[in-house]
């Protein structure tokens, strides 16, 4: 607790702060959490995430956990998934949710921030990493979202996913011949369709207000 434990990690934290943009205080808090989850080991596994009780009621918990182990989110242009992650990789994934003061940014910076965050979402949906979200993948997304609503969910999920896909196709491509086939949602279409939600201002967590007493559960 406190200064004693953070001493060996000081200079590593500095390097990480440079890389990810978190402040030192935030990094030390996250490090504590990392240690707690991994039971003081150096790496986290999927099972460790399953111990979080609050996550159990979240309908998309599997996707979230997968996102942590997805190499595409480690900002190193990797692909595929790993079995365990280090603290640095944990932080890198978390940095996607860092709050950024948007109003000081230029238009291009905002755009690239938006792309980055939407890329994260896109990767969560595109599980086979072929660069498009196919109908099947989208259906699975909607099914997961509705997974808490029981039997009612399955059929309607299909319908909703189909309608959503249709909308993306209508907006992005516009005119298609009856025998053409729309392969799937590419990243550009994804950007276009989600232009309305201001993702750069919504997709963040206030790391500042983390309550360290919670970490001592």
């Amino acid at each position: 607790m406190g200064v004693f434990h953070s001493a060996p990690y000081e200079h590593e934290f500095h390097a990480l702060a440079e890389k990810t943009g978190f402040s030192l205080e935030q990094i030390s808090i996250l490090h504590k959490r990392f240690m707690q989850l991994s039971h003081n080991e150096d790496s986290l596994r999927r099972e460790d995430f399953k111990t979080i009780s609050d996550l159990a009621s979240n309908p998309i918990r599997f996707q979230i956990i997968e996102a942590f182990f997805d190499k595409r989110n480690f900002r190193q242009n990797g692909e595929g998934s790993v079995e365990e992650i280090s603290f640095e990789q944990f932080l890198t994934v978390m940095s996607h949710f860092r709050p950024v003061p948007v109003h000081t940014m230029t238009e291009e910076q905002r755009e690239s921030l938006r792309r980055e965050k939407l890329r994260f979402l896109f990767n969560m949906h595109d599980t086979d990493n072929d660069g498009t979200i196919t109908l099947e993948e989208y259906r699975r997304v909607v099914e997961e979202l509705l997974s808490r609503s029981g039997a009612l969910g399955k059929e309607t999920a299909k319908g909703i996913a189909d309608a959503a896909m249709l909308e993306v196709a209508s907006v992005s491509v516009g005119h298609m011949e009856p025998d053409e086939f729309y392969e799937g949602i590419t990243f550009d279409h994804f950007l276009k369709i989600l232009n309305g939600i201001e993702i750069e201002t919504r997709m963040h967590i206030r790391f500042l207000n983390m309550d360290t007493t919670n970490l001592c559960k």
């Binding site: 996250l30 959490r33 989850l37 979080i52 996550l55 009621s57 979240n58 998309i60 918990r61 979230i64 942590f68 978390m94 709050p99 003061p101 948007v102 109003h103 979402l121 109908l135 099947e136 909607v142 979202l145 509705l146 609503s149 029981g150 009612l152 969910g153 059929e155 309607t156 299909k158 319908g159 909703i160 189909d162 309608a163 959503a164 896909m165 249709l166 909308e167 993306v168 196709a169 209508s170 907006v171 516009g174 005119h175 298609m176 011949e177 009856p178 025998d179 086939f181 369709i193 989600l194 309305g196 939600i197 997709m203 967590i205 206030r206 207000n209 983390m210 309550d211 919670n214 559960k217």
Partner: protein, 795 residues
């Protein structure tokens, strides 16, 4: 009045409009004169005022020689001829005058919009005040005393509809996201304004030479607290027209609503102690406690009544006609109950409306929803109009005591304190906000702080014996109101354009945005849980789950309590599109958001995915199936004639063959259209007693329908939008294929469309084929094209 009607009969050029308005004034005047002639209106009278005039004589001169007054002796009357026509204005005087004023107000509103460019330059509120001034002036010229806006009438009758309208349609998401900011502006901002203004005014009053020495500190502070509150009526009136972006709108508007609690407490505090002359520390402390009680108490009262209303609406499925009544009456009761205890009535109303809305709207029929919406808009519109007109009239009517120093200092201080307050508070608030408020935003928030009728009514309520300078106060208040409404109200629109402030986005919410908004919510909650910190999203998620698990079960009837939000949203969009489909009637182009030729077939994968095994059937077999289905379709069409109201989705026009034939025609048109259909009509299965369907069924008929317990009576039209195997074919299938095989035909003589499959594996095939089905939820088209609401009636 006949003259007036004649002139009004033709809508015409502006000359006619001014002519009709002149005539209207004359008519109003004549009738007012008549009323005045009988009983002069006192200074505190108003059309809706005390019923003292109706007390005395009820002139029932119905011809009998009955006594009207007790003083007459029955014995010495001479026989009068039978009165064929008599004039007795007294006993209808009050309602007559009220109606006349309301009519005047509404006709004025009508008139403004007939003049082409006027309403785009001058906000309505200004025009109405001018009209009020003119009417008041006319009345005065004639020699009578014009009525003054009675505070009782204002607070009890004119204000609640406006607030309820605001509260019921309050956009919850932006409101709760910005609640901290709004509360800061409302509470701290109003406190700052009151004390700054009160203090400085006192300082000014002490300056020798302005003969304002009689005004003591507490009176000044009281005046400051009255004048500093931003007025919801004025803000609404002006901001509605400029279509500013959602964030700024909710900030200013939310502030105007929530500062009521502060105003109430400060007003009562200073009024209590202004007579005594001093305020102790204990009083200040009690004031703070009072504030908390007033605010939280108001909210609790409102929430209580809101839950009652939601609970009541659960049982109204058999008496749809009085559903709107519950909403209105419970809300009004919440307001009045809060006023009994001097809690904040406005906050009670807002809480009531906001709490009951999601549950009530899940329970009530589509028509009731429309009724509620339109009644609220209508009442709030009439109230607003009346308020502004009366402000104008009261200006002319009231006793004024003009003091240059006081008034000018007040206006200047109002502006200065508002700007300082906003800038200072924003500096503090921006430390806690992610989306910071820019200078432009601050300017709009400061400039949009309009004062209105609430300030006037509060000033009017002051007791003259305690406050000898009441008239001066009133004059100053009216001047400030005029200044803010006219100057700020008129210039805010060009300023918004000049500063290029972001405007409201008119885009409709798409299903993709909805999916991803929910996805994002869950994602952020998950990340918060992984971090181990209980943040904003965590608590919101917990609240939602609590809501879903316990509250919805209590307050929402039937199946809908389990319906997740995404599905509710989706059904609503389908309903909308189905209604559009029907209403576009014979139109060639299907009204869709984005015209495109993409249809479902472009999306369906060409190869069936490997996890489904569709039995491949030969072309010949397919033809057979199709022929069988078509035959049955024709049979069923003939059976349409003998429909039974319990089985068919209800049609608003119940009787007449014409409508049946009309329906059949539409049916065929719809089938044709389905082939070009683009979007949402892909509802698979809604249970027949699911609230969506039962609402559609029960919507139009006040009599009770009982939902059929068996699930196979509902006709559905399953339209295969060209799956790759077969070109367009129309299949009529039963919605629930499980029951298909065990069905008896015609068990109740109603329309029973069933799967006429000869053998089982065709049934299976249908089960597995991906097809889009159109649900006939077309019974309740609503009042027409402009029903395109800007806010969803399901959250």
């Amino acid at each position: 009045m006949a003259l007036g009607r004649l002139a009004l009969g033709t809508v015409g050029a502006s000359r006619r409009v001014s002519l009709q308005r002149g005539l209207l004034f004359l008519c109003a005047l004549v009738l007012l004169l008549l009323s005045e002639a009988v009983e002069p209106l006192g200074a505190s009278g108003s059309p809706g005022g005390a019923g003292d005039s109706s007390g005395g004589s009820h002139g029932l001169q119905k011809g009998c020689e009955a006594d009207v007054t007790k003083s007459k002796h029955p014995t010495n009357r001479t026989k009068k001829p039978f009165p064929v026509l008599s004039f007795d204005y007294e006993h209808v005087k009050t309602p007559f005058e009220i109606s006349l004023w309301v009519l005047l107000a509404s006709l004025m509103k009508l008139g403004f919009h007939l003049i082409p460019r006027l309403s785009s330059i001058v906000p309505e509120s200004c025009l109405l005040i001018v009209v009020g001034l003119l009417v008041g002036g006319l009345i005065k010229v004639v020699g009578e005393t014009p009525p003054v806006l009675d505070s009782q009438v204002f607070f009890l009758f004119l204000l609640p509809p406006i607030i309820l309208d605001a509260g019921y349609f309050l956009p919850i998401r932006p409101f709760s996201e910005n609640l901290g900011t709004i509360l800061m502006f409302a509470v701290v901002g109003t406190l700052w304004n009151s004390f700054f203004m009160g203090g400085l005014l006192y300082g000014v009053c002490q300056i020798k030479g302005t003969d304002l020495n009689t005004v003591n500190l507490l009176a000044c502070l009281l005046f400051g607290s009255i004048i500093s509150a931003v007025d919801p009526v004025a803000v609404l009136a002006v901001f509605e027209e400029i279509h500013i972006n959602e964030l700024l709108h909710i900030l200013v508007f939310g502030e105007s609503l929530l500062n009521d609690a502060v105003t109430v407490v400060l007003y009562h505090l200073f009024e209590e102690y202004a007579g005594v002359g001093s305020v102790s520390i204990l009083d200040v402390f009690l004031g703070v406690v009072c504030f908390l009680v007033v605010a939280l108490g108001g909210v609790l009262v409102g929430a209580f009544y809101g839950i009652l209303a939601a609970f009541t609406s659960r049982f109204t499925s058999h008496t749809r006609v009085i559903e709107p009544l519950f909403v209105f009456v419970y809300s009004y009761m919440a307001y009045l109950s809060a006023e009994v205890f001097h809690l904040s009535g406005i906050m009670a109303l807002i809480a009531c409306g906001a709490v009951m809305r999601p549950y009530v709207e899940a329970n009530i029929s589509h028509k009731s929803h429309t009724t509620i919406k339109y009644f609220l808009k209508m009442w709030s519109s009439v109230s607003e109009t009346l308020i502004f007109i009366f402000l104008g009239v009261s200006t002319v009517a009231g006793n004024h005591s003009w003091n240059w120093t006081f008034v000018t200092v007040t206006i200047i201080l109002c502006l200065v304190s508002r700007v300082l307050g906003v800038v200072g508070l924003t500096y503090v608030i921006n430390k806690f906000r992610i989306v910071k408020l820019t200078t432009k935003d601050q300017f709009i928030v400061a400039y949009g702080g309009l004062r209105g009728a609430i300030a006037f009514s509060l000033g009017y309520l002051l007791d003259k014996s305690h406050f000898p300078m009441r008239d001066m106060f009133l004059t100053a208040i009216i001047t400030v109101i005029f200044f803010t409404v006219f100057v700020q109200g008129m210039t805010i629109r060009p300023l918004v354009d000049l500063l290029a402030v972001k405007k409201k986005q008119e885009t409709k919410r798409s299903i993709n945005e909805e999916i991803h908004t929910q996805f994002l919510d869950h994602l952020l909650t998950g990340i918060e849980d992984i971090c181990g910190h209980y943040g904003h999203h965590h608590w919101k998620d917990k609240l939602n789950r609590f809501n879903k698990k316990y509250v919805k079960k209590c307050l929402i009837a039937g199946e809908r309590s389990k319906e997740p939000q995404l599905i509710a949203f989706y059904h609503k969009m389908e309903m909308k599109q189905a209604i559009e489909l029907v209403e576009s009637g014979g139109g060639v182009k299907l009204p869709s958001a984005v015209p495109s030729t993409v249809s479902m077939q472009n999306i369906q994968p060409k190869k069936p995915p490997s996890d489904r095994a569709i039995p491949q059937i030969s072309k010949g077999r397919e033809e057979e199936i199709r022929k069988i289905l078509r035959n049955n379709l024709q049979k069923t069409r003939q059976r349409l004639r003998s429909y039974n109201r319990h089985t068919l989705v209800a049609d608003p026009y119940e009787d007449g063959w014409n409508d049946l034939l009309f329906k059949r025609q539409k049916l065929m048109e719809i089938e044709k259209k389905m082939s070009k259909m683009s979007n949402y009509l892909t509802v698979p299965a809604a249970a027949p007693d699911s609230p969506t369907l039962s609402r559609a069924r029960l919507a139009s008929d006040p009599q009770a329908y009982s939902s059929k317990p068996t699930s196979d009576d509902l006709p559905t039209i399953k339209v295969d939008l060209a799956s790759p195997q077969s070109p367009d074919s129309v299949n009529l299938v039963n919605e629930f294929q499980k029951a298909a095989t065990q069905n008896d035909p015609d068990d109740d003589g109603g329309l029973v469309m069933k799967v006429p499959f000869a053998d089982k594996d065709q049934g299976e095939q249908d089960n597995k084929k991906e097809q889009q089905r159109l649900m006939r939820c077309l019974s309740d088209p609503g009042p027409g094209g402009d029903e395109e609401e800007d806010e969803p009636f399901l959250p």
